[in-house]
Symmetry: C2
Subunit: 107 residues, 2 copies
């Protein structure tokens, strides 16, 4: 779970439901690869990602600026993952780009 960050920064909220298509291992490996690759990008602040037993997945990635988030979207290897996601893995998906203005919590 991503700890406290300093607003303002950019959050990319990605929600999805999976198709039955494709071996789960293949998808999981790609998701893990993308998480590791994202963490190496300039401006990356954190990633919270989970998928419940009912199939809804939510991933929120945090970035210093909107430009940092956009650069990651355009990463060549990431683009190929996006293509596979859209064509094969996701029954439905939605991506929302937001500016975090305040936050609080514990731990």
């Amino acid at each position: 779970m991503t700890p406290n960050l300093e607003p303002p920064y950019t959050a990319v909220i990605f929600t999805s439901t999976r198709t039955e298509q494709g071996a789960d291992g293949e998808y999981d490996a790609m998701a893990a690869r993308m998480a590791n690759l994202a963490a190496e990008q300039p401006g990356f602040l954190g990633l919270d990602s989970t998928r419940g037993p009912e199939g809804l997945g939510i991933s929120v990635s945090y970035w210093r600026t909107p430009e940092d988030a956009r650069a990651w979207k355009r990463d060549v290897e990431h683009r190929e993952a996006q293509r596979l996601g859209i064509e094969e893995w996701y029954a439905a998906y939605r991506l929302r780009v937001a500016t975090v203005e305040r936050e609080y919590g514990r731990g």
Copy 2:
């Protein structure tokens, strides 16, 4: 999964990990009650919520304005649920208030 909405609007990103404390049934009943109650509030646009097998929960609620989100935070029954969450149910939690500026997707 919440379908397309019309930016700008407010997203409240809530991440949490659970304690072992409290019967799961009790927590689940409260979470379901809060989801139903939220959906009745002015300005409510949608809720995406999931918790993975590793214990990370992500809930994103969408609101027409920041004031709508704030009014829900102050709801009396919701406040009691927040108190229980902080004192008993969440090992760690973080709440982020964001403005969604654009979105896209399918389904």
